[in-house]
Amino acid sequence: MSIKFEKVNYTYDIGLPSEKVALRDISHIFSDHCFTALIGKTGSGKSTLLQHLNALILPTSGKISIGSYIIDFSLEYKDGKVDERKMKRKRKKKLKDIKSLRKKVGIVFQFPEYQLFEETVLKDVMFGPKNFGKSEEEAKKVSYEALKQVDLDSSYYERSPFELSGGEKRRVAIAGILALEPDVLVLDEPTVGLDADGEKNFLNLIKDIYSRGTSIILSTHNMDLVLKYAENALLLEDGKIVLADRPHVLFKNEELLKRSVLRKPKVLEFADELIKKGLPLNVENIFDIPSLAKEIDRCKR
């Protein structure tokens, strides 16, 4: 299922003193089977964009096609000016069948606590599958599996999701979305708060989910993650997409890196230090620590 943004704009609090433009003229196609990482400074618009992917936020203007589901608020003109009356009518139409969209596109929020609400962890994870038509038994089965995938054992099932540590809450929130088995998995800074093991297992898990056909769209400040896992990186600056390309291409663009707030992944920063000292590494071969070690080895031979 591909997702297409056409000239999407979004402004918070229109007409209020707190009015804030968050997305500017976003046009982009998330391909049928993508692993895309959104990166960019604090406040650049990542969370806002991600919430458009399952219509939690509707564009101020522009068109979004999510598979066959279409939200069309593209601008209508009359005599060279925006036809406000026509636009109003467009926005008034109620969105049909939003539930089917939410089943296909699952999103894990930046602050997981805001998606937890049930009395117990197990009920919380089961809510989604049940809501989308699974029987109690089936819902239980997928929920057990999802909780296992985030390393929460049965001692957590009957506990309140609000009385957990930060990382445990994140795990429950992730499990709740995994249990939906969506076609597109949207994750807003999913590794924040996970311990080292939790992060490693989670990344292996989404790599596996991706290889089985699910699209992954996430935001992160972890550039090593982007380099190692993402097929595509989208760099946002003040609500605009300034680059959409392979991570290696992005991290080779020294000028852009200098101008933006990014740092290279740690593996590439380390490689640069070695290159400066005369070791002729080929950075294209480097995407994580083992491959950096191998590349060092290759050069030393």
């Binding site: 707190s18 990542k46 602050f111 930060g166 445990e168 708060g193 080292a196 990014l262 740092r263």
Partner: protein, 287 residues
């Protein structure tokens, strides 16, 4: 009556004069059948930079709330600058402590970013006429001056963390506790916040910093690393000593700093390299 009150601020003579935070056999549980912190003892010195690491649910945030007096231990004693924390002095002792919560939303009290910082200052009895200058200065330092009148709830994740840190710094604490406080900042933002905190530390050598984090690379410059596992304090040592216990750390779900991980990979490929420091490692590889 007055005398009683004063007595509660007397230093305990068993606690050394340069102690900032002391735990003596502290235990805590949320629910009796699930102990959360088990018989924890440590002594953090004035001016120390401490990192706390540990797996999810190991008890780090709980520990920070005990230091800040938000939660009360079930057993044992906690001392702040040598003074035993009790029901009747916790509020007073807390004035020297600023805790930045793991989830910034749970600490905002003001309707605007300005008010949020002001609130903390009022509690510190800062003079009204000095207030605006301090607020502006703090907002500028964290790069949030244009959000002065914004509602904290309507900020992006990283912006929330910047305001939470600004509020904490404005109070000029003697003990600063950061609970994953910059986890949502972009890489350069993280560096900026680090710089601000260490600038403050230069001005006040006695500032005690306790940094709770999952980013192991953040801990390598700390004086000491405390390691929690399942509610136990399992290690308390210099970063180099802690990270030489490679297998143990892995067994409690933790990882190593970048440089150490690379050395391990190179060892696997047959290079006999030992880790001393970063520069040394670069030299050894290029040799």
């Amino acid at each position: 009556m007055k005398k009683d009150k004063e007595l509660t601020f007397i230093r305990d003579k068993d606690i050394s004069l340069d102690s900032a935070v002391t735990f003596k056999n502290v235990s805590f549980f949320y629910e009796k059948e699930r102990p959360c912190l088990k018989n924890i003892s440590f002594d953090i010195k004035r001016g120390e930079f401490i990192s706390i690491i540990g797996h999810n649910g190991s008890g780090k945030s709980t520990l920070s709330k005990l230091i800040d007096g938000i939660l009360a231990q079930n057993e044992g004693d906690i001392y702040i600058f040598g003074v035993k924390m009790q029901d009747n002095n916790a509020i007073q002792l807390r004035k020297d402590i600023a805790l930045v919560f793991q989830n910034p939303d749970s600490q905002f009290i003001g309707a605007t970013c300005r008010d949020d910082i002001a609130f903390g200052l009022e509690n510190m009895q800062v003079k009204q006429e000095d207030m605006e200058e301090i607020i502006d200065d703090c907002l500028r330092k964290v790069g949030m001056e244009e959000y002065k009148d914004a509602e904290p709830a309507n900020l992006s994740g990283g912006q929330k963390q910047r305001i939470a840190i600004a509020s904490a710094l404005a109070r000029k604490p003697k003990i600063l506790i950061l609970d994953e406080a910059s986890a949502m900042l972009d890489p350069k933002g993280k560096k900026e916040i680090e710089d601000i905190i260490f600038e403050r530390k230069k001005e006040d050598k006695d500032l005690t910093i306790i940094n709770i984090t999952h980013e192991i690379d953040e801990t390598i410059n700390s004086d000491r690393v405390l390691v929690l596992s399942k509610g136990n304090l399992v290690m308390s040592d210099t970063p180099n000593k802690v990270f030489s216990n490679d297998e143990f750390l892995t067994s409690i779900h933790l990882s190593l700093p970048f440089d150490h991980l690379l050395v391990k990979e190179l060892n696997k490929l047959g290079y006999e390299i030992e880790y001393d420091d970063h520069e040394g490692l670069i030299e050894k590889i290029c040799r």
